[in-house]
């Protein structure tokens, strides 16, 4: 494993009564795409702000690149690129000027800056829009501009705070691919989101947060292994009789059977050819059924298992 880029120890941040971050410890290594996953209000943005020395915090230490981060650590700041949660670009400036404006906060050399800005524009695919003002850009393009403003100076550590909120699927994919590419080019990435699919897709390491606490950490696979469930089989059918449920429950890997709104859910832990066994059983008992699906566990299941609630509100 490479060097430690970010080291947060026992971070506590309180807003008056509310503890937004509660004894959080994180270690992020060079070359990782680190996902900070948690529902809205779980303290992701607060953690990032403390990390960047924007917020004063109550307890804990934060080290970046092996040094304690302070508001005047300009040498450290020069190596970081941030993409804030809300789009922060100037309406009066066009795409090129916006990127140039923010890039100029880091890069003084004009020729170098021009090259960097052009590269950033190409990177987010806004070549056809360089003269466009932000108001003329769609939500997705605007997000891409927001990202370009944060990465133009080629930072070693890139922090993205929910960059895909309110973004069309095409732009979302473009953004996710872009992050993977940035990572391939050597950048360490911190990525916060409440979309588990995204962290599963791109993150090499994930920390799940809730109420300011880190409730789990690991790779996607490691996290899923933390829970009992390995597979959930769903069958469309009328309410089964008690005998069938009991027979199903007697199968080795089945630990729970539930019927709800026209669907029978069978939860399994481990075992092999589970689906086949279930299908055999159903056929011999002669019940009529419709569609059968088998799902592997998601991070949502992990979250659900640990906290007893869904990761995000059904939308």
């Amino acid at each position: 494993m490479g060097d430690t880029v970010v080291k947060i120890e026992n971070l506590v941040k309180k807003y008056k009564e509310l503890t937004a971050v509660d004894h959080l410890s994180l270690e992020i290594r060079k070359g990782e795409v680190f996902g900070l996953l948690g529902p809205n209000g779980s303290g992701k943005t607060t953690t990032i702000s403390c990390l960047l020395s924007l917020l004063a915090f109550d307890e804990g230490t934060i080290e970046l690149f092996g040094k304690t981060m302070t508001p005047t650590s300009y040498d450290i700041k020069a190596r970081i690129g941030i993409i804030p949660q809300n789009v922060a670009v100037f309406d009066e400036l066009n795409v090129y000027e916006n990127i140039d404006c923010f890039c100029g906060l880091y890069i003084t050399d004009k020729a170098k800056r021009r090259q960097y800005v052009d590269e950033a524009i190409a990177f987010v695919g806004l070549q056809d829009f360089t003269k466009f003002k932000p108001k003329k850009l769609s939500g997705g393009l605007l997000r891409r501009l927001n990202i370009a403003c944060g990465i133009a100076h080629k930072p070693e550590l890139i922090i993205l705070d929910e960059p895909t909120v309110a973004v069309d699927p095409q732009s979302r994919n473009k953004i996710l691919e872009g992050i993977e590419e940035l990572n391939k080019n050597g950048a360490t990435v911190i990525y916060t989101t409440h979309y588990m699919e995204e962290v599963e897709q791109i993150c090499s390491k994930i920390a799940i947060m809730d109420h300011g606490k880190k409730i789990a950490e690991g790779t996607s696979g490691e996290l899923k292994r933390m829970i009992k469930n390995t597979e959930t089989v769903t069958i469309e059918m009328d309410e089964p009789d008690q005998a069938l449920v009991e027979t199903l429950n007697r199968l080795e890997s089945v630990y729970e059977v539930k019927w709800e709104a026209g669907k029978l859910k069978i939860y399994l832990a481990g075992g092999e050819h589970n689906l086949l066994d279930i299908m055999d059983l159903l056929r011999t008992s002669g019940v009529r059924f419709g569609q059968v699906t088998s799902e592997l566990p998601t991070l949502n299941d992990v979250f659900l298992t640990i906290t007893g609630k869904e990761l995000r509100d059904k939308d």
Binding site: Y15, L52, L55, Q85, A88, L105
Partner: protein, 475 residues
């Protein structure tokens, strides 16, 4: 990095729709409106016929010929008026005439007794009373002379220029009509036209020269034009006397003595149109407040995402703030300059011939407005929109109190609580322009400029104190 930030600061300011509307279009539209409503009186380049009462306690031939010549009827020049008076009057008249060459009488003089004069002044039938009294002493040119330190000051250019020209004309005149008509000015000036004997005979007349006092009810263009006339007159006669005494042509000492005190009877209305124009510039300058609100806002992480972005960058906050301030200074000065230029050259507002000082005052006013905005932007956590609204309301309110909409407001504040006018930034800037147009020297103008600078320094310091913090309790 400073210049990079400065560049974008200026671009941002000049592209902002609000700036274009409030700093450029609004004042121009408003001043055109005012011009249409009030300005017609001042066509012909601001010269009008001013009704004035003359109370002669002691008849003064020369002065009478002068004022009559400047007055409504040219035929009043008769035997009782002196030749010199006519020449001086003609000189001044020429000076006052605009390019179109149309002769417009400067004064409508009404000779009357003191009682009638005061009554007419109260009623507004005349703009001022000129008292012609017996001389009090040889040195005193007028009854009341202000202590004015104008030596070596560029402010007196108008007077000095007039004086120099008048000396020339005077010499020409004294040399005789024939000489004046045929000889060229250089020749006359070289000394041939003027003889010592002529000067001595003139001395007798000067000895009888009376003391002049002006009483006015309020300040305004017309009042200042009477005052300027009297100052010219005193200066001219003073110079002549000076020359007659064998002095050189350096007239500055005479100029000093030639300041006529305007005794205000009461604080009254100032001339509306000009007051509006001065207030307009002051208002535009103070609008710098709204422009500068974002300086702190865009640099403070707790106030905006831009601020967060900047705070996370490797550019120190001081640099971004300084660049922001300087950018606002420059763009706001530009807006004020546009406004002044429009008023001076399109609307032909009278700034007393001291345009550079008007620009200076406007620029310093803009700097003050920007620093106030910087301060307001840095305090509290109110939303940007709310701060914009508050600043707009403050500037409009101050402008209103300074007489932007009703010129009487300021006068009534002056009566009840003059300290408010002294503290009102809009009034400070507007007053400085007013002083430029009526004062012979720049003392009061500089006084106001000192106030402006004080405000600026205080607000900038406070702003920096407020933005000094580096970490926030909450964002």
């Amino acid at each position: 990095m400073f210049f990079h930030n400065l560049k974008y600061e200026i671009i941002l300011n000049l592209r902002a729709k609000e700036v274009i509307i409030w700093m450029l279009l609004f004042p121009i539209a408003l001043s055109v409106l005012y011009k249409a409503a009030f300005g017609n009186v001042y066509e012909n380049g601001g010269i009008t016929t001013v009704p004035v009462a003359v109370v002669e306690h002691e008849p003064d031939e020369m002065f009478r010929s002068m004022i009559n010549y400047m007055g409504e009827s040219e035929s009043t020049v008769d035997g009782t008026e002196s030749n010199l008076g006519r020449w001086l009057a003609k000189t001044m008249q020429e000076k006052n005439q605009q390019e179109d060459g149309e002769r417009k009488p400067l004064f409508h003089a009404i000779y009357c007794n003191e009682e009638d004069a005061y009554r007419m002044l109260e009623d507004g039938d005349v703009k001022g009373i000129i008292f012609v009294d017996a001389p009090e002493g040889a040195a005193a040119l007028s009854g009341d002379t202000q202590d004015a330190d104008t030596s070596g000051d560029a402010s007196d250019t108008v007077t000095a220029e007039w004086g120099a020209e008048a000396i020339k004309h005077f010499r020409e005149a004294w040399g005789g009509d024939a000489v004046y008509e045929n000889a060229d000015a250089e020749e006359i000036l070289s000394g041939e036209g003027l003889t010592l004997q002529d000067m001595t005979s003139f001395q007798d007349m000067l000895d009888k020269k009376s003391s002049l006092t002006l009483k006015i009810k309020s300040n305004g263009m017309e009042q200042s034009s009477i005052k300027r006339f009297l100052e010219m007159y005193s200066a001219l006669t003073g110079i002549t006397a000076h020359l007659a005494d064998g002095g050189d042509t350096d007239s500055s000492s005479v100029m000093d003595a030639a300041v006529i005190a305007d005794e205000k009877l009461t604080e009254g209305n100032t001339d509306p149109f000009v007051t509006y124009m001065y207030n307009m510039i002051a208002m535009v300058a103070l609008f710098g407040m709204t422009v500068a609100l974002h300086v702190a806002l865009f640099s403070e992480a707790n106030l905006s995402d831009y601020g967060a972005r900047r705070s996370c960058s490797s550019t120190p906050k001081l640099t971004t703030i300084m660049a922001g301030l300087c950018g606002c200074f420059l763009s706001q000065i530009l807006c004020v300059a546009v406004c002044i230029t429009f008023q001076a050259f399109v609307l032909k507002v009278d700034f007393g011939g001291r345009l550079p000082f008007v620009y200076l005052g406007g620029a310093l006013g803009a700097v003050m407005g920007v620093s106030m905005g910087f301060f307001v932007g840095a305090i509290g956590r109110l939303k940007y929109e709310a701060k914009i609204g508050i600043s707009m309301a403050v500037v409009m309110g101050l402008s209103f109190m300074s007489g932007l909409m009703f010129s009487g407001i300021k006068a009534s504040i002056e009566m009840s609580a003059p300290i408010i006018n002294d503290l009102n930034p809009v009034a400070i800037v507007a007053d400085s322009f007013y002083y430029l147009s009526v004062d012979p020297d720049l003392t009061r103008y500089w006084g106001k400029m000192v106030c402006v600078l004080l405000y600026t320094v205080v607000f900038i310091l406070l702003g920096f104190l407020l933005t000094r913090r580096r970490k926030y309790e909450s964002l």
